[in-house]
């Protein structure tokens, strides 16, 4: 980071005027130069600040305000109900189901994607011909739009569809389920689709982490007689800690807000029974489509608070060392 005050340039020896258009040697030029610097700072940052404040921060403030009213979205809100929308949400079994579904997705993603991605990343980190192609293929699902992925799996998982045919041809016909219609199965099906979609992201991050592990360390371990597995377990894995923690953080935040895949893949009837909905789909169903704007905004605030608190806790207790390290390393 630049530590010297840039307005003081040019300092020692050089007698050329400050980097401006008008050469000015009088004492007032210093103040003019400072003023110019501030004009530049304000001029360059204002557009970004305005857009950021207006479309990221301000809406959340409005959500808190709207959430205190019963309001159908027409005219200004007048029917003040205090915190009633919040208590209503926590009394609605469908919302509680949504919370449970979010929890399943958060922990399911961490527990399934983590080990799976780690295994694949370790495999694709071995040196072999054609590795680059495999790395590319594994990452393709992540680049597809969530909607495309949702429609795709919906078509594959349809009853008596391709997936069922595949299972039967493998002699696993007994496993066939109503993947997207069975109320007890659908959330696990969705978890599978989400895993398919996002595991590539975890792999790509872990491969980046692995490329930072010096070859000499693993070679030294091998010379000392460690097997490949022992090397991975005792040398590589500990060095991957920061990468794994940052991935877990991003995965958690994404899982708490997940909307697209759920919305597209599971039909509204199943969602409305609480079998597959998440906080985000519940919010959009109630707020936008049922026009319960006050209530929907209360759900938005709940979703926001849960995500933000989770993010802060994760940041505070798990990520802090990593991020400090990253910033200082990068800046030097």
């Amino acid at each position: 980071m630049t530590s010297t005050d840039q307005t003081r340039f040019p300092a020692g020896g050089v007698s050329t005027p400050p980097a401006g258009h008008r050469p000015a040697g009088r004492p007032s030029s210093r103040r003019a130069e400072t003023r110019r610097k501030w004009y530049e700072i304000v001029g360059l940052t204002t557009p970004a600040i305005v857009v950021y404040v207006m479309f990221v921060l301000v809406p959340m403030g409005f959500a808190v305000y709207y959430s205190l009213y019963r309001w159908r979205g027409v005219g200004p809100p007048t029917d003040y109900v205090g915190l009633r929308n919040y208590t209503l949400a926590f009394q609605d079994p469908i919302f509680l189901d949504a919370l449970r579904n979010n929890a399943i997705i958060v922990f399911g993603s961490l527990l399934i994607q983590g080990p799976v991605a780690l295994g694949i990343a370790l495999l694709l980190n071995r040196r072999f011909r054609g590795r680059a192609v495999f790395r590319l293929l594994v990452f393709v699902p992540y680049v597809l739009a969530e909607v495309t992925v949702g429609i795709m799996w919906k078509l594959i998982l349809v009853e008596n569809g391709t997936f069922d045919a595949l299972l039967k041809s493998l002699g696993l016909g007994g496993l066939v389920q109503a993947w997207l219609a069975d109320l007890d199965v659908v959330i696990w099906t969705l978890l599978f689709v989400l895993t398919w979609k996002y595991v590539g992201f975890a792999i790509i991050l872990l491969l980046a982490g692995l490329s930072n592990v010096p070859h000499e360390l693993t070679e030294a371990a091998a010379i000392d007689g460690a097997s490949w597995w022992q090397t991975q377990r005792h040398v590589t894995l500990p060095l991957l800690g920061p990468t794994i923690r940052i991935w877990a953080f991003l995965s958690m935040i994404g899982s708490l807000q997940v909307f697209d895949v759920i919305w597209v893949t599971s039909v509204p009837a199943v969602r409305s029974l609480g079998a597959s909905g998440t906080m985000a789909t519940y919010m959009v169903d109630n707020g936008f489509f049922a026009r319960l704007w006050g209530y929907g905004n209360a759900v938005a605030v709940i979703l926001f608070v849960i995500s933000f608190v989770a993010a802060l806790l994760f940041q505070r207790f798990i990520l802090r060392r990593d991020i400090e390290g990253a910033i200082t390393r990068r800046a030097n």
Binding site: S3, D5, T7, F9, A19, G20, K37, W38, E40, I41, P47, A48, Y52, M54, F55, V56, V58, P59, F62, Y66, G73, I120, L123, R126, F128, R129, R131, V138, V140, P141, V143, L144, A145, V147, T148, M152, L155, A165, L166, L205, A208, H215, E216, L239, L250, I253, L256, D260, W263, V264, A280, M283, F288, N297, A300, S307, F308, L312, Q315, R330
Partner: protein, 286 residues
């Protein structure tokens, strides 16, 4: 870790060898799981719906082009691709311009409150974007921006700014001060330095943030779903969704439409794979 840069060059010289059969077997299985569903959709588009119903897992027999031709000629595919393109390009441009300007100040100016401003932007990374969608809709409605490209572009720019600034700032900080001094001696002010030196030098980083913004916008669903009620403004993700529910009995048509919608993303990915992967990795590495 500190010895890493010194030691790592040796890894580059190691020749790639053939892996064990087990390695290939596992890698092939993983690749199959990633790719098979996508191939199924693309190939399924060449079958007829009766063929698919009779034998869901079969190959086209005969191959029919009709589904693809029908989707391209009769549906709103081209209109939606155009809308997606305009919105994604607008978002990319906005993110790059606003992000570059702000990151430049945060990297090359010294002033009171600079770190506070940086933190202010980075907090956006913790911000759950999806949570604010309802009030965002209400605000855009009050601004009469609903059913316009801006209703999608402006919020997308805003939500992409934190990541962009986090990626660009260290890049701009790393430009040697000597270059800035030399530019000043040649009579260029700080803005001249920004335009003539910092901008060209940071092209790789700008491409990265641009590509990330483009992909995020191209794939976006929730925001367009709420703010683009007008069918003529629908983007491809909205198009895929509505086509699949409108023609749910026409399985072959839905498969064709879905694979056509995938195609630009797949093409774009093969072209910009390095930027996407490198950008994501770089952003997380800090």
């Amino acid at each position: 870790m500190a010895t890493n840069p010194v030691l790592s060059p040796s890894t580059g010289r190691r020749p790639a060898t053939w892996g064990t059969p087990l390695t290939y077997a596992l890698a092939l299985a993983i690749a199959a799981v990633s790719i098979a569903p996508i191939l199924y959709v693309i190939i399924g588009g060449f079958r007829t719906t009766p063929q698919i119903v009779a034998d869901p897992g079969g190959l086209p027999d005969p191959w029919v082009w009709d589904n693809y031709a029908r989707v391209l000629s009769r549906s709103n595919f081209w209109q939606q691709a155009f809308n997606s393109g305009v919105i994604a390009l607008g978002t990319t441009l906005g993110v790059v311009v606003l992000g570059m300007a702000a990151a430049f100040v945060l990297a090359r100016y010294t002033f009171r409150g600079r770190e506070a401003l940086y933190t202010f932007f980075t907090v956006g990374l913790l911000f759950p974007a999806g949570a604010a969608i309802l009030p965002l809709y209400l605000m855009l409605r009050d601004l009469s921006l609903i059913n316009s490209y801006y209703a999608v572009i402006l919020p997308q720019v805003a939500f992409q700014l934190p990541l962009t600034i986090v990626i660009l700032r260290p890049f701009l900080s790393a430009i040697p001060r000597e270059l800035e001094d030399a530019a000043a001696i040649d009579g260029a002010g700080r803005l001249g330095f920004l335009w003539r030196i910092a901008l060209p030098l940071s092209r790789p980083a700008l491409v990265t943030v641009g590509v990330l913004a483009f992909v995020a916008s191209w794939n976006a669903f929730l925001l367009p779903l709420l703010v683009l009620g007008d069918v003529n403004l629908h983007t491809l993700p909205l198009g895929v969704q509505s086509f699949s529910s409108q023609y749910s009995t026409d399985t072959a048509g839905v498969l064709a439409f879905t694979s056509l919608a995938m195609l630009p993303a797949l093409l774009f990915f093969t072209l910009a794979e390095k930027q996407i992967v490198g950008g994501l990795q770089g952003a997380v590495k800090g």
